[in-house]
């Protein structure tokens, strides 16, 4: 089809229409394109004929049809369209985002429209959103608290984690509270000094504070911050990370308690030894061979007690470092029970207790010294907590694939709320336990030894009902070595 001969100005307009990089179209009020420029084919792949053959709505993304119809209806009333966006289907089935500017000529029933492919902008925008969401996720849901403080110490922002720790809503904090408003009164001074220095220096490391939650409870934290300055070198805000320090504080407390307990446990035997030996050295008892013997016996006993304490602590050290080595060999449950009972019999007798043994055989592959150590530890505990005249029962039996050992006493029992915690490090059952001595390492060591053998350990007890500690070891199958 030869192009109709047009006047020069019309020819130029026509050329402009055909060369435009924008998608230009003339549409009627019935929903059809009347004319489209070649840019359409470049953008969507459809030929002008294909685009003109169907209502343009056919090409619009189903989700955008409603808004497109509304926009078209608006145009028929004479209103112009500015930057309306919808998606058009390309010939390859993908969709392109188009941004429309359109002007209707109502008296002629046509719309002059130009559209621009903004798909790349949309994609960039989407990516930006995704990125922002990712950053916000990293900020808000990080496993530590984040916040920023302005020069007055007022919160500029705070993340969800820290808000959750504190029990506040963001709007209660940001722009409203100064960081020191959340502090324990006695750390206010520390904060003001640290904050002034921080603004000058630009960093602060491992500052410990105690925050007060909305419900009034306390939260120990560690803060690290760096400062943001503007071009003039003035402090703008902080970037602060906040870590929950509860566990570390608890550990510190436990360590302190442990050290004082070790102190206590070492000091009493040392005092006895010092006094006994001092008395011997002074010659004040040399006229009584009996007294001399007694003092020597006590000094010896206390030496053994200190040795046991030290080896418990070394065991603990090895357990912590994973250097606790087992020397497994074939042995029998009943034999181990008898060994432990023989060792403890004199102690039980001295404490006025009856030791009742019921030893059933079960073939084991275990480190016999370590298992006897566990049994001895449990027996020492039972003896320590039993009133005179009561019975301590020690037994072993085979139950299926397991050997079960039991040490039961008729002592005061263990409060149920203590439960499994008595097997933790540096735990003692009751305040009375402290008075009775013991460092709270025994059960922890027992659990570690039994665990390394592939067994389980537990306790059945109620206050006033005595306690029964038990542990299991896997039975050695016949013929296996």
């Amino acid at each position: 089809m030869a192009a109709p001969k047009l006047p020069r100005s019309d020819r130029e307009v026509d050329l402009f229409f055909r060369l435009s990089r924008d998608l230009l179209a003339i549409a009627d009020f019935k929903g059809y394109f009347q004319r489209v420029n070649p840019a359409w084919e470049q953008a969507l792949g459809w030929t002008p004929e294909e685009l003109l053959a169907r209502p343009y709505l056919d090409f619009v993304h189903p989700d955008d049809r409603e808004s497109t119809l509304a926009e078209a209806a608006k145009l028929t009333t004479g209103a112009v369209t500015i930057t309306f966006e919808n998606r058009y289907r390309s010939k390859d089935g993908s969709y392109r985002w188009l941004q429309w500017n359109s002007t209707p000529l109502t008296e002629r029933g046509v719309i002059y429209a130009d559209a621009r492919d903004i798909t790349h902008l949309k994609q960039a925008e989407e990516q930006l959103h995704r990125y922002a969401a990712e950053i916000s996720d990293l900020y808000n849901l990080a496993p530590c608290g984040y916040h920023s403080l302005d020069p007055q110490g007022v919160f500029l922002r705070i993340n969800d984690t820290e808000l959750k720790w504190l029990g506040y809503k963001r709007e209660e904090i940001v722009g409203r509270k100064r960081f020191p408003d959340l502090l324990q009164p006695d750390s206010l001074k520390l904060f003001e000094e640290a904050f002034a220095g921080f603004k000058r220096r630009g960093w602060v490391r491992d500052l410990e504070f105690e925050l007060v939650r909305k419900d009034g409870t306390h939260l120990p934290i560690v803060i690290n911050s760096t400062a943001v300055y503007n071009d003039a070198g003035e402090y703008v805000m902080s970037r602060s990370t906040v870590f929950d320090n509860t566990d570390r504080k608890a550990l510190e407390r436990m360590k302190d308690e442990f050290i004082s307990m070790v102190g206590h446990e070492l000091r009493t035997p040392l005092t006895s030894m010092r006094t006994a030996l001092g008395l011997l050295a002074s010659g004040r008892v040399s006229n009584s061979p009996e007294k001399v013997q007694q003092m020597l016996a006590i000094a010896l006993d206390e030496t053994d007690r200190l040795t046991r304490l030290v080896s418990d602590m070394l065991d603990l050290q090895r357990l912590e470092l994973g250097r606790f080595k087992l020397l497994p060999q074939a042995c029998d449950a009943a034999e181990l029970v008898h060994q432990a009972a023989d060792a403890l019999q004199p102690v039980a007798e001295k404490a006025g207790l009856r030791l009742e043994i019921s030893a059933q055989s079960a073939p084991l592959r275990a480190d016999p010294d370590r298992i006897v150590q566990v049994l001895t530890n449990l027996l020492v505990n039972a003896v320590k907590f039993s009133p005179p005249g009561t019975t301590v029962r020690l037994s072993s039996e085979q139950r299926g694939a397991e050997a079960v050992f039991r040490v039961a006493d008729e002592g005061p029992g263990i409060a149920p709320e203590l439960g499994e915690r008595i097997f933790e490090r540096f735990r003692q059952g009751q305040s009375e336990a402290r008075a009775r001595g013991g460092m709270g390492l025994g059960l922890y060591i027992c659990r570690a030894i039994v665990g390394q053998h592939g067994g389980r350990i537990g306790v059945e007890s109620a206050p006033g009902q005595g306690s029964a500690f038990w542990f299991t070891l896997p039975v050695q199958k016949e013929g296996a070595s």
Partner: protein
């Protein structure tokens, strides 16, 4: 022969302490816990009790609190393996004579026992006005031996401080307390000196208020403080003339030992401060 009761749940310690005290010529009975001790004390009279703090069923501090109801309670020497301020202040509050932490030199125990047995009965008890580790406040009778006891207790509260700090503070406190008891209280056991010990992370503050009318530095010719520069030991002669105990370096020495030393206008109250943070405040 004095009657002594040794109370400790540790059988060995009980045995060796009894042997030690018997060898020193005392008559000794033992009890293995607080309840047994109280029962024994209800039946017999003892001059002195050596009492462990941590025992099952009833702690030594509880025993101490209960014996005050006895018609003639024994003097008490507390033994403990922990030096926590709570235990220490508890012992002080309940009028323990003194406090030994394990392990101790047996001779030290014997010395303290003799000291306690020989001590005059106090005209007035030591009153504990505050027993917080950060604020201890006491009213003590104006007796010289009380100064040593109080210093013994307070020294333990400073166990975590560097030795040089403890030593200088201890010397200053002792001198100033002796001044208060001797000059302010005229060694009158019916009058009292008020002592406050305040402890913060950054400073240690002592305040000693005596019941006297105060003094003037001008009249202090028995003190090294008033010596003319060319005769730095003139006060010693003065003291000999006046029949005073050797010493008199108190205020001068104390000034050198602490960071701040202040007297009130009447000069019957003294406050001194030792800074605990290494950097001294800008002056």
């Amino acid at each position: 022969m004095s009657r002594l009761l040794v109370v400790d749940d540790d059988e060995h310690l009980r045995t060796v302490l009894a042997a030690l005290l018997e060898a020193a010529g005392h008559s000794v009975a033992t009890a293995d816990d607080g309840a047994a001790a109280l029962e024994r004390l209800g039946r017999e009279k003892f001059d002195l009790m050596v009492l462990d703090v941590w025992m099952p069923r009833m702690t030594g501090l509880e025993v101490l609190a209960r014996i005050k109801a006895l018609p003639a309670p024994p003097k008490v020497i507390m033994l403990t393996a922990d030096d926590t301020p709570d235990t220490l202040l508890g012992a002080l509050r309940e009028q323990a004579y003194t406090y030994l932490s394990k392990p101790f030199d047996p001779d030290t125990l014997l010395g303290r026992v003799d000291e306690a047995l020989g001590a005059r009965p106090e005209a007035l008890p030591i009153e504990v006005l505050s027993a917080r580790p950060s604020w201890v406040e006491l009213l003590v009778p104006c007796q010289l031996e009380v100064a040593d006891r109080i210093q013994g207790f307070l020294k333990r509260l400073e166990a975590d401080l560097p030795e040089d700090v403890r030593e200088s503070v201890g010397l200053a406190f002792r001198e100033l307390l002796l001044n208060a008891i001797e000059w302010g209280g005229k060694l009158d056991p019916n009058r009292k000196v008020r002592i406050a010990y305040l402890r913060t992370p950054r400073l240690l503050l002592y305040r000693i208020a005596d019941p006297g009318a105060g003094f003037r530095f001008e009249g202090l010719d028995h003190s090294a403080l008033s010596n003319p520069a060319e005769k730095p030991l003139q006060h010693i002669e003065t003291r000999q003339q006046k029949g005073l105990r050797a010493g008199g370096f108190g205020i001068l020495m104390s000034k050198a030992m602490v960071d701040e030393l202040l007297y009130n206008e009447a000069q019957n109250e003294v406050v001194f401060v030792k800074y605990l943070d290494t950097k001294k405040p800008a002056t």
